[in-house]
């Protein structure tokens, strides 16, 4: 954690008033030692690969092949292999893009925003959440790059990225689609950098442990990336400042990225898209779905690796409450959209919302409402939050619901726009379906590699929030 304040003597008023100490939740339970934390996290990497990991890797790898095959076929045969047809020319591809980017946002929120808000409980989950962000951005980026059809024009000769090209043409910077290019690229790059900077002290620990255990090859590999870190306090001073600045810069980044993604829709004129509620609504929805995915990933890891002392009930409570809060914001946004559609007396807007609830895609709409509005409300109840299996199931519902939300927004507005003669019904083709489900395989492969080779929790940050870290020997004064 980074606050470089120097010590002030306690003001005299404190001795007079003698406030009761505030009960704070224990972040690492069972009075663990610093060494216990190191052994626990490094033990996962140093142990032989568990059998379940190989099975999961095989399954994920197989799933990932669907995406590779789907993309290869798409590039070879053209965008016609997807189910897109007038009027619905954005469908699963853009839904999947927004879905994956949204998931990524929770990682940055946990790392950056919770750091600025001094929420110490973030330390158990932030590394895995940041890794989730990076892999989610990888899965997301597949879609805008490949949905253009002629991918070779998109990336290099300057349709997306401003490179000099043979037509001497540059991108048009008034378009949110171009803003997206910079937003998502910046987001991916900064996320990787932030994650890597956080890893440096832990890579140093692994470097030295492998060296002591006699494994010179692994020690060398981890050591390269550890940059020669030696735990020097003069280094920590600069490191903490850099971390704080990265957190400070990542916060407006995460807010802006999903805002810009929402602009893809909001700047159009379509009923159901052209509303100013989209930026905050999308950002809240992204955090909602991201925390759902964090729970989906961390709860099984907690059970498998016996991390109950590090990811405590308090941590799970906090995550559930954030899901509840953001889910309620999303529910409020649904209500507000409906209200404004009626209040604004725009017949097209009004129709768009009636159509969502009762038209051809009503089935998708009600799945969305059930998963996004009703599901998080269970988290009001402590008994529910303490039932880990149930929390995990609810987190799956949250992700399903958020996928359907993007589907409802994108497809219903396109399928029924201004002119009835343009109306059409969209169905995904098999290629689209396989490509999407394959991205879960891509994500799984990357995440499994992460948990096998890298420390899933930031040991240095966790130790810094344990009672042993307090120089005044036990009382937490902030």
């Amino acid at each position: 954690m980074a606050h470089a304040h120097s010590d002030h003597p306690a003001p005299a008023i404190l001795a007079e008033v003698n406030p009761a100490p505030l009960p704070r939740a224990t972040l690492v339970e069972n009075n663990r030692s610093l060494n216990w934390v190191t052994e626990k996290i490094c033990g996962i990497i140093e142990a032989p690969t568990p059998k379940w990991w190989w099975i999961a890797f095989a399954v994920s790898g197989f799933l990932a092949l669907f995406t590779i095959a789907g993309i290869a076929y798409l590039v070879a045969a053209g965008v016609g292999v997807w189910g897109h047809a007038n009027p619905v020319n954005w469908a699963w591809d853009i839904v999947n893009f927004v879905f994956w980017i949204g998931i990524g946002h929770a990682g940055t929120l946990i790392s950056a925003i919770l750091c600025l808000l001094r929420q110490k409980w973030r330390t158990s989950i932030n590394r895995a959440a940041e890794a989730m962000t990076i892999f989610a951005v990888v899965c997301a980026a597949i879609f805008p790059v490949f949905h253009v059809g002629r991918v070779w024009f998109a990336v290099l000769p300057g349709y997306l990225f401003p490179f000099p090209n043979s037509n001497a043409i540059w991108p048009q910077f008034r378009s949110p689609l171009e803003w997206d290019v910079f937003a998502v690229s910046t987001y991916g790059t900064v996320s990787v950098l932030f994650w890597y900077v956080g890893l440096i002290p832990d890579l140093a620990i692994l470097r030295d442990r492998f060296y002591k255990a006699g494994n010179k090859v692994k020690s060398f590999l981890y050591g390269i990336f550890a940059m020669g870190w030696r735990g020097s306090n003069r280094h920590w001073s600069n490191y903490e400042m850099a971390y704080l600045i990265l957190a400070g810069v990542s916060t407006p980044l995460v807010l802006s990225v999903h805002t810009i993604v929402s602009f893809d829709f909001a700047v159009s004129l379509l009923p159901g898209w052209h509303t100013t509620i989209f930026p905050p609504y999308f950002v809240a929805g992204a955090i909602f779905s991201g925390f759902g995915m964090v729970l989906t990933l961390m709860l099984p890891l907690r059970a498998i690796f016996r991390l109950e002392d590090l990811i405590t009930q308090y941590h799970i409570d906090c995550m559930c409450k954030i899901v509840l809060a953001t889910g309620t914001i999303v529910g409020y946004a649904y209500g507000m959209e409906f209200f404004i559609a009626w209040y604004g007396a725009n017949p097209y807007e009004g129709f768009a919302f009636i159509n969502r609830a009762f038209g051809h895609y009503a089935w998708a709409y009600w799945i969305m409402i059930g998963c996004n509005v009703i599901t998080p409300q269970f988290f009001w109840f402590k008994k529910v939050r303490q039932n880990i299996a149930f929390v995990w199931v609810l987190s799956i519902f949250v992700n399903v619901g958020m996928w359907f939300e993007r589907f409802v927004i994108i497809v219903t507005s396109l399928a029924r726009d201004f002119l009835p003669s343009s109306w059409g019904y969209y169905s995904p083709s098999a290629v689209e379906i396989f490509t999407f489900f394959g991205t879960f395989g891509v994500f799984g492969v990357l995440f499994l590699l992460f948990i096998r080779f890298l420390p899933i929790m930031p040991m240095a940050e966790i130790k810094a929030v344990m009672p042993q870290a307090d120089v005044h020997g036990g009382h937490d004064k902030h």
Partner: protein, 177 residues
């Protein structure tokens, strides 16, 4: 005495101990010395007399560069080199250019911050006497060390040992360069 002595390294077992030890070493007037800790110890900067980090200066420079780069790039591309008429609107406006310039500001700030951190820390530095020592294993795990370098003008082997012992060190050893 070792032919090439880098300095002394002394172990302390808790954060309060190293905090108070650091204060004593600072007050004794040493300049070339350091603490090795497994995590950033709150308040140790003040106890060591370490000034505020210079990394923010790099970040500011990076951010300003990013913003100017974004705005000028868009101005040049959409207004000078290949002017694009979009909806009859002006070729360039800081409003429409803002999102991309904003993202580049953040990107360049991040690059500059990390570069600044590495530069100020003189990293990567894969060789260092502390890294050769047996103490580094615990120094990154659960123990806290003070290192006083022999090149410090005030350094005297016996006096440094005495200071560290008096500050409460559990074990003192010599580091070879």
């Amino acid at each position: 005495m070792a032919a090439s002595l880098y300095g002394l390294i002394a172990r302390f077992d808790t954060a309060p101990e190293i905090y108070h030890a650091a204060e004593q070493v600072r007050d004794a007037g040493y300049k070339n010395w350091d603490c090795i800790t497994p995590f950033p110890v709150h308040g140790l900067d003040g106890a060591m007399g370490v000034r505020r980090s210079h990394v923010p200066k790099f970040s500011l420079l990076g951010g300003i560069t990013g913003f100017i780069t974004g705005m000028s790039m868009i101005w040049f591309m959409n207004s000078v080199d290949y002017p694009l008429i979009v909806g009859g609107k002006p070729y360039f406006s800081p409003l429409f250019a803002f999102p991309v310039a904003y993202e580049l500001t953040i990107l360049f700030t991040a690059f500059a911050t990390i570069a600044g951190m590495f530069i100020m820390n003189l990293l990567p530095q894969h060789y260092h006497p502390v890294l050769k020592s047996k103490e580094i294993l615990r120094g990154l795990d659960d123990a806290f060390y003070v290192v006083i370098e022999a090149r410090d003008p005030r350094f005297d082997l016996a006096r440094a040992r005495a200071l560290l012992t008096q500050a409460g060190a559990k074990e003192i050893s010599e580091l070879e360069a």
